[in-house]
Amino acid sequence: MKRGWKISLIALGSAVGLLLAAVAVLLYLVFTPSRLTSIANRLAKDYIECEARFGRVSLSLFKTWPNAGLRLEDVVLVNPCPTAPGSDLFAVAPASDTLAGVESLAVGLDLRAFLKDGSVIVRQLCLENGFANLYTSADGWSNLDVFARSEDTDTSSSGQFPERIDLRRICVRNLSARCCDLRQGLAARADCLGFTLCGGWEQQSANGRLRLSLDRLRAVKTDTAGARLLDADLSHLALSLRGSGPMDSLQGRLRLSLDNGALSLSGKPYITDPARASRKKLLSLNIPFRADLQNRAAALSQAVVSLLGYSLSLNGALSLPHDGVPLTTDMTYAAADWQIAELLSFLPADLAKALNGFNADGRLSLSGKVVGSVGSGRLPVVDAHILLHRGSLDLASLPSLPLHKIEAEVAARLNLSADSLPSAPSDLQVLRLSAQSGGSSLSVTGRVDDFLSARQVNARIRGNVALDDLAAFLPPDLRLRGASAVDLKVQSRLSDLTSLALERVKAHGTLLLDDLDVQTDSLHASSPHLRVALALPAKRAAAKPSSDILSAHITGANLNVEAAPNLEAEMNAPDIVVSCPNLLDKRQPLSARIALRCSRLSAQKDSLFSAFTDTLRLKGSVCRSPKEEDNLLRQWNPVASIDLDRLALSAPGMTDAVRLTSFIFDFRPEVCSIREADVLWGVSDYHLSGQVRGLQQWLSHTGMLTGSLDFGSHYADIDQLMAILSGMGADKDTLEQQRAADNISPAANPFIVPKDVDLKLNTHIDRCVAFGNDLADLSGSVSLSDGTAVLDQMGFTCKAARMQLTGLYRSPRINHLFLGLDFHLLDIQIEDLLDMIPTIDTLVPMLASFRGKGDFHLAAECNLDAFYRPKMSTLLGAAAITGSDLVVMDNDKLASIARLLQLKDWRQRDGLIGIDSLSVEAAVFRKEIEVFPFLLDLNKYRLCVGGRHTLDNACNYHLELLKCPLPVRLAVDVNGTLAKPNIKLGSVKYAELYKPEKRDALQTRTLAIKQMVREALEANVR
């Protein structure tokens, strides 16, 4: 550059500088602050209707650089309120007569435009240290109405967006504002408000930036009654918004930070004390966006919304409704590591109240997307993928069962649209869910289809459950111990599951129980291992409709059961199928059907009995009647069919075990049917079949036990049977009272006929032993009827004869037993008869001298004491003996009698004493045995014998010769004792006894009595 040019430019610049300095000095000298202040105050009266004061107005070059401007200081607007306010809103925004006060207000103007065409264009505005008090009274008066109304009536430009905006800066620093609108019930107060706004708009392109900060914002809104609808107190709010670009692609970022605050709606606080105490930012937004302002759409990228430190990142597009297009979103969201316990503590009281009763914790992560439009009944579809890590759940209702180590992964699709297609319902898929509690762990996988309406659950539950952990779910008197492995599949509506409507639930699975121990007040069951297969609804036969909905198939190695008092049972290889209706349905009686099979069962009760069986098969059912608490059978109404092989039953008092080789038994409360029972007991064997009725009533002492049983045996020990049956059904206390009242020794243990029993045994016994006698072909009926045992015309044979016995035995008192016999022995060997029944020798002493066969009829009764000793005062009997071709054994007494009667050649040729026929009737009354006169044919002699003896052996007999070769009638009296009789001749008295035409009254009466006795006896012969 040439030096001349250089010098020229410097000179020009200096001149311009000097010109500018001169202008500035001139302006300062002309537009002095006092002059400008005066001008401003004068102009203010024209434009401001209230009192307005400008403390100092000066020109500003540097404050508004590069624009020239005015600086107004100490600006005050005073507009007193017309009425004294009395609302509590003034606690937030007190009334004041000063509308506004500004310490410094700088306005930068476009000087060029002003000089060019006189237009006033504000380029900058900066307000510092000001305050404002806005007040609107209840009748609508506002202290802000202080500006004079414009006379410019041209409104053509209003409402039109300017084509160009170039805003260098609007800044506000340290502005405090109060607003009280009594008409709206609103009061607000902002402290230390500051913001900066700059930007521009030109040719459909915008560029702007807003920064706002606020130390405190207090706002209250009340209703007409004065109740607070809104009460907000926010601290440290910072907002930053910038954007640039064309209107259809405006890029920018919104940042918002709110450090702390309180918010109440309708008196309910929504920011809790724990939230405020957490010292976390109450709200934080960082939203980068690309906006299409024309179409009201925006795309977010890595936007983060954070509330109290819990962040949610958003990506995607959002379109606001316009031109009939609804709000549309296609947004993904993600959140990570939310601390549930802390989050729950931040919940407002209303929501926290709904969560009362449980504490939860864990780390929650979720992600998903929201796609769809909003409006006209449509809502977007929300997809969510939820992860829960190290979760815990503590329910107040189950304090003993806290869940911990919860790990969950859930995917959900939520379609909230009212017109959602059935093909796209909301669903929830549990990819994995596991939890632990105590010593138990459970995992669940599955899905819930149509989550918003039908909620169809299809899940699989697996886990290991320590049965102790179930105590909270069980009745207090039921204790479970052991371990179980659960594998259960469930298909049901969720509502059916929660309402336990089991009849509409499908489920099946297995339950493996180890070291099971079940304890109730009256039952203890244990098993080392059991497998339970559950099925809901119950498996059922197609031909058998049933209301059962649950079935369980239980198998295992063995099962031990102890029932109070001291009943123990052990079941080997149990195979039990139980089915029952809905146990939770209170409308249905508790019932169950049971099919049981086990390879071996052993049971014992104290020292009373023990039983063992090989194979047991049982089918039955129970149905509980709650009203029948006192009677076990009525309460449960059991029905059972039992089929078992080889049952062994033993008891301490039994020398031999009872063994049932087979036992098929049908039990119903009204009737028990023994279809087949083969019993071996010692040397005895029994076959039993028949029915017993009224067991239920009998056990409750309200009815008789009745029945008819066929009782067969090849060999039976009747004494053994009687010992077992003794006292069955009798009231033990009553027996003991009788024993005490009668002072009966405990050694006495007589057979007590069962009470309240009416049983008939149709017996057929090949051989038996009874009271030490061997009997054969025993057939007839044995009846036990209410304390009376009856052997009804029982026929049998022994070594001596065919027999027929009708026996009657009662036990009204333990020391007063009744025994009655109707005994007929046909074709009897007399010596065997005496051997079998030695008492007959007492009744008819002379019978011991006879040999041969005869018929014997005896009907007798006697009461016995507790030791079976007869009470002789009650002995009453009658006997008849007939025989023919008998032989009388010779002895000294007979020889003495024959000698006195002058009998010659009365023996037969072989030396024996033969008797053609014999017919004796005898009667027993107490100790007296009366033998009615009977005839003896001895060869060519005929004797009549009669008399009486007593049980203490005193005798008084008369033998009279009725027929002999000699014309004499001799008689012999036998007195004294039977052992040492005094035999001497006596007077005849039977001479006319068998001559009807010559009988006297005594003889007639004697024969009538004899006939009466015999006819009564023979009437019972079958």
């Binding site: 020391n815 009655g820 009907a859 009650t874 009667a923 009354f925 009466r1005 009466m1012 009564a1016 019972n1020």
Partner: protein, 123 residues
Amino acid sequence: MKTKGLIRLLLVAAVFFIMAGCAKEPATDVDEDLLAGRWKQVGTEECWRFDSSHEGETWDLSDDVQEGEGIKFTWTVAGAELTCVMRGQMGQVVPKVYTVTTLNAALLVWNDDYGNVKTFNRI
């Protein structure tokens, strides 16, 4: 000598008949109304009850047999003869015939065909 012997025989016969006549109590007709009631044998616990319906019962307290537990019978009287027909529960019939020698409000005496005498007091 023969005369003395005959006299001795006659004396013996007379004494025999006199003694025989004195040995037996004279039989008395039984008054059924007097008989009805409970009687207890002297020196024992054996009891009898005669009902006016001609039924009765006998029991022995020394055997721990109480009234109601004893032997039931029906009774008839013919002159001095009292017939008790014991009917057992097994169908047996045992008639007993007694000759009443004394019967008044307090005392009952009977004997049987063998001369056994039983004396009862009313209870």
